[in-house]
């Protein structure tokens, strides 16, 4: 029973970890938004999608969250007419990554919001712990 606050902190920590992992994937996507192939038959960068898995931690006795496999976005590549590009095909089109910077920005905001929510839980739990310790000081 007394471990309950520790559990809360560990669960919130797992949430923080997952959200920062998600930020890493988003950063990768944005950084590679213009990474084309070098040859006409090569594929450009394919957008990565983080997945979340709720996993029951038997040691903790609660559902923590973990970053699942990072999947690839199956959407089509964008085609742009650039005949001089080394990766241009016979018709002069170049395949660009299927990354939408706007979508990534929105995802980033969401990750930020969830991160803050987890931090809030940590703060609230810490306040509760220090209030408990104050009982000693009566």
């Amino acid at each position: 029973m007394a471990m309950e606050f520790n559990q809360s902190l560990k669960i919130a920590a797992s949430g923080l970890k997952v959200q920062s992992g998600r930020m890493r994937v988003i950063a990768e996507n944005i950084a590679n938004a213009d990474s084309t192939a070098r040859t006409p038959d090569g594929d450009p960068y394919r957008r990565k999608v983080p997945t979340f898995v709720s996993k029951f931690d038997r040691e903790l006795g609660a559902a923590k969250v973990e970053l699942g496999k990072v999947e690839r976005d199956k959407a089509d590549f964008k085609l742009r007419y650039e005949p001089g590009h080394p990766a241009a095909d016979g018709n002069g089109y170049v395949k660009y990554p299927n990354v939408e910077t706007l979508v990534e920005t929105v995802d980033m905001r969401e990750a930020q919001r969830s991160y803050e929510a987890n931090l809030n839980i940590v703060t609230a739990t810490r306040r509760m712990i220090s209030r408990t310790l104050e009982i000693l000081k009566a």
């Binding site: 809360s8 949430g15 609660a62 839980i121 739990t125």
Partner: protein, 144 residues
């Protein structure tokens, strides 16, 4: 006599444990705020056992009922069975989801934040009451 045997103190202690357990459930909800098919959970309020409830509402001078939830443990039917670490004594409820996202996730962060703040405030109230009761006891034994 342990301090928890005094009705009021026991009740306050159970209430504090309930808030601790609830904080854990809320942490779980927030951590899983982006997990597909995850539904937010909450804890049911601890209930007064029938006998204790009668004592509270009944005759003046009746002892205050201790809010005590029976702990759920694993049944050990073989010699080698482990008891596990008890599990929480409080019952989890599903609650009504405010909204379900296309991914099947039903955690509303704002709602969880509000609940967490409420839980923290209530915990502080109970902790203060507990502290006051301790001061009362201290007065009773004649110390300042």
């Amino acid at each position: 006599m342990a301090i928890g045997d005094i009705g009021l103190m026991g009740a306050l202690r159970t209430r504090m444990q309930w808030h601790q357990a609830r904080q854990r459930v809320l942490a779980e909800n927030v951590a899983n705020a982006d997990t597909p098919h995850y539904k937010a959970k909450d804890l049911a309020k601890p209930e007064l056992p029938a006998a204790a409830a009668a004592a509270v509402s009944g005759a003046v001078g009746g002892s205050l009922g201790t809010v005590r939830a029976a702990s759920v443990t694993l049944a050990a039917t073989q010699a080698g069975h482990l008891s596990g670490n008890g599990g929480s004594a409080f019952k989890a409820t599903g609650g009504q989801p405010f909204e379900v996202r296309p991914s099947g996730n039903a955690v509303d962060l704002e709602d969880q934040m509000a609940k967490s703040a409420e839980n923290q405030l209530d915990y502080q109230t109970v902790a203060s009451l507990y502290q006051q009761s301790l001061a009362l006891l201290r007065t009773a034994v004649g110390r300042k």
